[in-house]
């Protein structure tokens, strides 16, 4: 990878993540607005952003609760949406050294964006970039949630501003540098195909985890 020749450090993680943080902050605001409107109160949404730190799962759990669903349904929906973090966790595991509590804390900072930014190509990950990027995104997410809870009635729904299209574009920007070989392009195409085919027939979250099966293309040399 281009930037990977010398050591990339924490600061690189912070700098590379700042532009994304603006989108994540906006997404955090929308979570705060929505959770408050769903009757979660003011503190619970902020605590949830601080402990779960995974946008789509939080939106899903909140919408289940506000629609009168059971606690179990909400938890299952969130677990399915976050299931991709199991293989993602395995991918960064070799680069997280240190005592178990330090590995545990680093692991909490792994979200799609910090993971993609810390990728150095060929399945290698930079733990310092991950830490810098993860902390920046964490601040944006929890800060955004707090703003949404406090000023939701003034701000309104940020999706009006096209924020829902900001995320696919953001992921596209993170995907582009990963497409370095024919094999990685094939994996991307297959991953997208699996996800789209399963979306109408599987519960939310399952299509994304299932897309990780596309990396089995790596068995063939």
């Amino acid at each position: 990878m281009a930037a990977g020749a010398e050591e990339r450090g924490h600061r690189h993680g912070v700098r590379a993540t700042l532009p994304l943080s603006i989108a994540v902050l906006g997404f955090g605001v929308s979570f705060g607005v929505l959770a408050r409107a769903a009757g979660m109160g003011g503190v619970a949404p902020i605590v949830m952003s601080g402990t779960t730190f995974a946008g789509s799962a939080q939106f899903a759990a909140t919408s289940v609760v506000s629609a009168g669903g059971t606690v179990a349904t909400a938890v299952v929906a969130a677990v399915l949406l976050n299931a991709r973090y199991a293989p993602i966790g395995v991918s960064v595991a070799p680069y997280l050294t240190g005592p178990w509590w330090s590995r545990f804390l680093h692991a909490q900072l792994v979200v799609d964006e910090s993971w993609a930014i810390s990728a150095e190509g060929d399945g290698r990950y930079n733990p310092r970039v991950l830490l810098g990027a993860g902390l920046t995104l964490y601040a944006a997410w929890v800060g955004g949630t707090t703003l949404g809870v406090l000023f939701g009635n003034v701000i309104g729904d940020p999706n009006r501003l096209g924020l829902d299209a900001a995320f696919p574009a953001l992921f596209l920007g993170l995907l582009a540098p990963q497409l370095t070989s024919t094999r990685s392009k094939q994996a991307a195409a297959l991953g997208a195909l699996i996800a789209l085919v399963l979306t109408p027939i599987a519960p939310p979250g399952v299509p994304i985890v299932a897309a990780s099966a596309a990396c089995l293309l790596g068995w063939r040399r």
């Binding site: 979660m40 619970a44 995974a54 969130a78 799609d112 596209l172 109408p200 939310p204 099966a213």
Partner: protein, 102 residues
């Protein structure tokens, strides 16, 4: 209210475990070469899946709406090597404008 806190606690706890399981069990150990070749393809596969679902997904159906225009514009910006913030702003603006006009 109690249900809310139960959901917050359980979802938070479950997510922490899912994220931590790999690093806690395998932390610092190299994966076998065969496995790391697969793991190298995980980022393109998962990121492409996220692009696809966040562009076309609407609950459990697939739709084509204003987001497609925004993402297409963002895609052109990515291809022209625009900085990521510009990519995101272009995608959001195109979508918002399309939504206001269409």
């Amino acid at each position: 209210m109690t249900d809310t806190w139960l959901v917050v606690g359980l979802v938070g706890g479950a997510t922490m475990l899912i994220k931590a399981i790999g690093p806690i069990l395998l932390g610092g150990r190299a994966l076998p070469p065969g496995v790391s070749r697969l793991i190298g393809l995980l980022a393109p596969a998962l990121l492409a899946a996220l692009v696809a679902i966040s562009t076309f997904g609407y609950g459990s159906s697939l739709v084509i709406d204003e987001r497609v225009l925004g993402v297409a514009a963002g895609g052109i910006a990515v291809w022209r090597k625009a900085p990521i913030l510009l990519v995101v702003v272009i995608a959001a603006c195109v979508t918002a404008v399309a939504r206001a006009l269409l």
